[in-house]
């Protein structure tokens, strides 16, 4: 998303404008990226062809780790769980955060106050959120018995049909504020003149929302969805603390499966293979989402405004 700055009168323009900033400026970012992303990634690719328990010597194992990782039914299950969490998170979070974003974009004082309240979960660490929910969801000492509402005293974390939705709820609780913030910014960028013109043409609230707000938020939706999709590939701390992947393997999603394979079962080879799969899936998804966003993302949507 590049913005082209037109030089204002009196602003010094150094060098021919067509060349842009010096290529040297990319060096700090590149060094950082190579050291902390590419080098470890190459290390992981290397480890995926070895056998290592984290303690002894690293020995070459060819494709053994890949075979272990790919033929293990738990891996397939982890992929399915990851996909489910990804899809359900999108389905739940996009509408809620979109509507909340539109709502909090209004200028009324009470909306500003509500917006501040909505953002509170964003300030908490995932670990704190998970520990708090774990305590709240306890069927004997949690919120159900505490509030005297038996319906809330379910086997939330132990029922394999319920637990996935509990996880998605807690994720939504934590991340909806963040996406609301993104949508709020997006909505505030829409020129008021659009709405004025629509009102003159006799469009109602709902029509304004469908015909102006939604199309204008297209790129905001894509940005926010990209973050949600890639985020669900990285959900780890929250689920690790909340359910540790259980009951059974019901919430053992790919990053958690990778961690448990590496640091619980101490099979660094298979864990590295899973890590590579995770990176590849992440890159493919990011690319697909960028494609959906259209070829030319810097095209203005504000023509005529």
């Amino acid at each position: 998303m590049s913005t082209i700055l037109k030089p204002k009168p009196g602003m010094a323009v150094r060098g021919p404008r067509t060349e842009g900033p010096s290529a040297w400026m990319v060096v700090p970012a590149l060094v950082f990226f190579l050291t902390f992303a590419v080098v470890p990634l190459l290390g992981v690719v290397f480890l995926s062809f070895t056998s290592w328990n984290g303690l002894g010597a690293i020995s070459w194992a060819g494709l053994d780790s890949w075979q272990t990782a790919l033929t293990d039914s738990v891996t397939l299950n982890a992929l399915v769980v990851t996909a489910k969490i990804m899809v359900y998170s999108l389905v739940v979070q996009v509408p809620i955060s979109l509507l909340l974003g539109v709502f909090t974009a209004g200028n009324q004082r009470y909306r500003a106050l509500l917006a501040v309240l909505y953002f509170v979960p964003l300030l908490l660490s995932s670990a704190a959120v998970a520990i708090a929910f774990k305590a709240l969801l306890d069927p004997n000492f949690g919120m159900g018995p505490g509030l005297g509402i038996p319906a809330l005293a379910q086997n939330w974390l132990g029922n394999e049909d319920l637990v996935l939705f509990v996880v998605i709820f807690v994720i939504a609780w934590q991340f909806v504020p963040f996406h609301t913030l993104i949508y709020q910014g997006g909505v505030r960028q829409i020129p008021a003149s659009f709405y004025e013109a629509a009102q003159i043409d006799g469009a109602g609230r709902v029509q304004q929302f469908i015909h102006i707000t939604l199309p204008q938020l297209k790129y905001t939706i894509i940005t926010s969805s990209t973050l949600m999709v890639l985020g669900s590939l990285a959900y780890f701390d929250l689920i690790f603390i909340l359910t540790a992947g259980g009951p059974g393997y019901a919430t053992r999603l790919l990053p958690l499966h990778m961690y448990l394979t590496g640091f619980r079962a101490n099979d660094m080879g298979a864990a590295s293979a899973l890590g590579v799969i995770l990176v590849v899936v992440g890159l493919v998804l990011a690319l697909v989402l960028q494609r959906i966003g259209g070829k030319n993302r810097s095209a203005s949507q504000l023509e005529g405004a």
Binding site: F33, F36, A37, V38, P40, L41, N53, G54, L55, G56, A57, V74, K134, A135, L137, D138, P139, N140, F141, A153, Q154, N155, W156, L157, G158, N159, E160, L230, L233, A234, F236, D237, T243, A244, G245, G246, P247, G248, Y249, R252, P255, Y259, L260, F263, R264, A265, N266, D267, G275, L278, V279, G282, L283, A286, L287, Q290
Partner: protein, 439 residues
Amino acid sequence: MNMRTTKTLTATASALALALGLTACGSSGPADPAADSSSPTMWALTGSSEDIFRSSVERWNEENPDKSINQEFFANDAYKTKVRTAVGAGEGPSFIYGWGGGVLKSYVDAGHVDELDEFLAENPDVKDRYIPSVLENGVIDGKTYALPNNNMQPVVLYYNKQVFEQIGAEPPETWDELMALVPKFNDAGIAPFALAGQSKWPNLMWLSYLVDRIGGPEVFQSILDGEEDAWSDPAVIEALTKIQELVDADGFVNGFSSIAADAGADSALLYTDRAAMMVHGGWVYQNLKNDAPEFVESGEVGFVPFPAVEGGAGDPANVVGNPANMWSLSSTASDEQKDDALAYLKDELFSEEYTQAMIDSGAVPAVNGIEDQLAQSEDKDFVEFVYGLAQDAPSFQLSWDQALSPAQGDAMLANLDQIFIGQITPEQFAENMNATLGK
């Protein structure tokens, strides 16, 4: 690939790498700012024995300023991951806290811990103070690599005397009696058993005891030895079937697989009279003393050995649990650190104050000749019960998740979890677990 795609790729990859990297370093703790690089380091666990470890090192450092020890504490789950990574990288502490079993063996195989036989030969007093069956857990391939540092923690059946009185029942001595109690307590609106199923490892105590009672310790030994199809042993299948029967009979508290052990929500059910019984480790008594002193002081907490199974081949006197935790010495420590560490093991570990402090906390140290001190303890009933249990046990089986290799232990806990929630059958469990043998 055009520029924009490359940029997207780059950005995504770096975001992913960052996210993964940030998660990975989340568990590292701060180092002691006053750390002197020449003094030995000790990593210990928070929880039931924390005060004893802390005061012991404080006492030692005061009396031996030239041999002082740097001590750090960690929570159980975080510690297990951290110490392994640190030891593997050659950055481990001089004193490595452990459980013996499969993890200790992997340290030994990779040459990360020192053999202690020479030290024990020079200091026979040290060796003689331990109960032999407990010391045995630090022995790998005939050599000693770890020395017990705290109490024996056999798994026992705790019960709430008041609710037993309420329905006029006696604690179960056999499995049939246990099953017969289940409907009685359910009718009275009391959960028969508390269980922290969400933490997974509490489930294991049921399986280890039932397999031992039905088939004897040999069944698990052949699993440990990696014999083919060892998990398909009829004793394992019968034990798993019995567990599922108990679950189906509502033997465990409603929603047990949502209950986590870390906050003590399982023992809370016991002392708030909502559950009648709980099968749990010896450390629970120490925790009860802290969390519910009036429950312990009024003598309402009862404890009996795990019931016998009719017709079972195992001796009902056998116990499972944690014989004790142990100190191993890192082979990467400097000679000076090792000398100081050995001096601590010789002179301070299980010194009179150490042993007494442990008994006062309601625990039974893994040492000989403490009968008199136990008899004077305010927790006389419990400590003498545990001491007798451990002394008379023909077999003291280490918790399976510690005894097995980490890969098998992890798979076993996940599969057992599925047994408890009825997702798989005992035969599927055996099949899944047979596939992990030798890993």
